[in-house]
Amino acid sequence: MSFITIKKLKFIEPSIKKAFKNRIFLTGFSLYMILVIACIIGSMITPRSLTIVGAVEPMLPPSNKHPLGTDILGRDILAQLYISTINSSKIGLIAALIGTFVGSFIGFVSGYYGKSLDFSLRILIDVFLSVPSLLFLVLISALVRVVTIEMMALLIAAFSWPWPARQVRAQVLSLKEREFVYLAKLSGEGGPEIIIRELMPHLIPWMIANFVNAYLVAILTEAGLSILGLGPQMDITLGIMLWWALSHAAIFRGLWWWWTPPIILLIYSFFTLYLIQIGLTEIINPRAKVM
């Protein structure tokens, strides 16, 4: 067991090293991490009671006591921002983990075993890729009444596996014809062993790129659904904060300190995550110069 772990780490290490040598990746990664860590620390030193309706005086502009003011329902905005950012990234994390894992699994199985299994899995992938996911997410979340962060994440994950699955499958199809796979087969390795020990190390960069992509799309989707009022109703996320602000006409009441912070943090998150993505693309395919 320990032998496998060490061997796997050896394979992962170079891609991590390469990633941190890439300037664009490093910038995006550190900027995003600063946001998340700042919000985690912030949420620990700020009493959670400030985010309950009626906790403080409503509609206060920014002051020393409330650095970003309060909203119409009497909640501290900065305190909400901390929790919202953490919740939004939690949704991204859960959805991306499940999506990438399930997607890669299907991709590996479909690509490696081929034949009728591949045939049916490929149809499944193709059908899910051509179904408009946002439409279905709106449909499901409106009818099911999503209440928690975890439910939202699971819902988004249900539509985030086909893309990684297709990518991994395509890679596996070309990899499995290589000599080292034949050699492994001749030396008696079985299917699961070949997938984990021979194929997986080559696909780690792809899987990480897919993970970041799924992470970004999950946060994007959640915010979009929440703006429609279809987000998790028991929790707050950046999208939900925006929905509260919009449904109380914050823009037209001049409550700029209410609706701008979630917008700024969303743009900041997307921009930094996008930088990570560009960096990863450059690492995987050094010829593709995006910037």
């Binding site: 059908v127 179904v131 408009p132 409106a142 037209f252 609706w259 969303l266 743009i267 997307f270």
Partner: protein, 334 residues
């Protein structure tokens, strides 16, 4: 020839299967929710004070819509109606047909999205081509970087920012609605002017968010092609630079762009979901969300299916036509 046929049959099968699976999902998902739309409607009537006769009326309605039959009968009659292109009646806005509601919303979405999509495609492709051709220049790099930054802003956030700038601060354009309440719809000059005035902000938000996408993809493609051997060869032959750009680079890059355009045009039939809701724009997107919120089975089925069929059909045409247009691509079997 055998592989061509297999390719075509495969694509057709996938097309039918996608629509069938989506249709089944659209049938099942709303019915998983406890309580049918009529129960919800009944509760609303009761809250409004109606007591006598409502229960009987609801039962009558249920019979009329066929909701009293078992689920399998409902499913098969749904599929049968679907094949005949029959969308049925809206439950919440009863005697109105689903197709009438769609026809009422469709012109709004088509007007808004076709104009913005074409303008943004033309502008983006043209600017992207020029920026790709001169990719080493400072201006091109600044343009690409700012487009990249702009493209990371989601379209719904762009919409909110535009509302703040143009509707709240400058007070130039209305923040929501398709036209002013007092105006009678018709082909009068004032009405058209009013509609254009109202659609400016949603149009601008769609334009800005899609423009950057076209621009960046065209720029990337042109600059890749510029490094290819046949362009270097053309330069070595001493061909005019403008000729190389138009008939070598742009001609090769236009195909993927055109594919993207076709796909975007097909999405018109889904409406601009979130944008339309934010701006209170009376198009298909708003209709879909209204249908879903009121659990109107037949309206959901009609609107969602329309958009799925449109996208799937566009996909099918692209995949079948692509090998004909681009000789480098062949039909692949399997």
């Amino acid at each position: 020839m055998g592989s061509t046929l297999r390719y075509i049959v495969g694509r057709l099968a996938l097309y039918v299967l996608t629509i069938y699976v989506s249709a089944t999902l659209i049938f099942i998902i709303p019915r998983l929710v406890p309580g049918d739309p009529l129960t919800i409607y009944y509760d609303q009537l009761r809250e409004a004070g109606a007591i006598r006769g409502t229960a009987e009326m609801i039962d009558e309605y249920r019979k009329m819509f066929g909701l009293d039959k078992d689920i399998l009968t409902q499913y098969f009659s749904f599929l049968y109606q679907l094949i005949r292109g029959e969308l049925g009646y809206s439950i919440t806005q009863f005697p109105t047909k689903v197709s009438d509601l769609i026809m009422r919303a469709l012109p709004w979405s088509i007007g808004l999205l076709s104009v913005t999509t074409i303008i943004s495609w033309l502008l983006g492709t043209l600017i992207g081509a020029i920026a790709g051709w001169f990719r080493e220049s400072k201006a091109s790099q600044i343009l690409a970087t700012s487009a990249l930054f702009l493209s990371t802003i989601p379209y719904y956030i762009l919409a909110i920012i535009l509302i703040f700038v143009f509707a709240y601060t400058l007070r130039l354009f209305p923040a929501s609605g398709g036209h002013s309440p007092g105006i009678t719809p018709g082909l009068s000059f004032t009405f058209i002017q009013n509609v254009l005035w109202h659609s400016f902000l949603p149009a601008l938000s769609i334009l800005l968010s899609s423009l950057t996408w076209w621009l960046l993809s065209m720029r990337a493609m042109i600059s890749t092609i510029k490094g290819e051997d046949f362009v270097i060869m053309a330069e070595a032959k001493g061909l005019q630079r403008s000729k190389i750009m138009w008939s070598y680079a742009i001609r090769n890059a236009i195909l993927p762009q055109a594919t993207g355009l076709a796909l975007s045009m097909s999405r018109i039939f889904a409406g601009a979901l979130i944008t339309e809701v934010i701006f209170g724009y009376p198009g298909l997107g708003t209709l879909i969300v209204t249908a879903i919120r009121s659990v109107d089975y037949f309206l959901i089925q009609g609107t969602v299916l329309l958009s799925i069929v449109a996208v799937a059909t566009a996909n099918l045409f692209i995949e079948l036509l692509y090998p004909l247009i681009d000789p480098r691509i062949r039909y692949r079997g399997s």
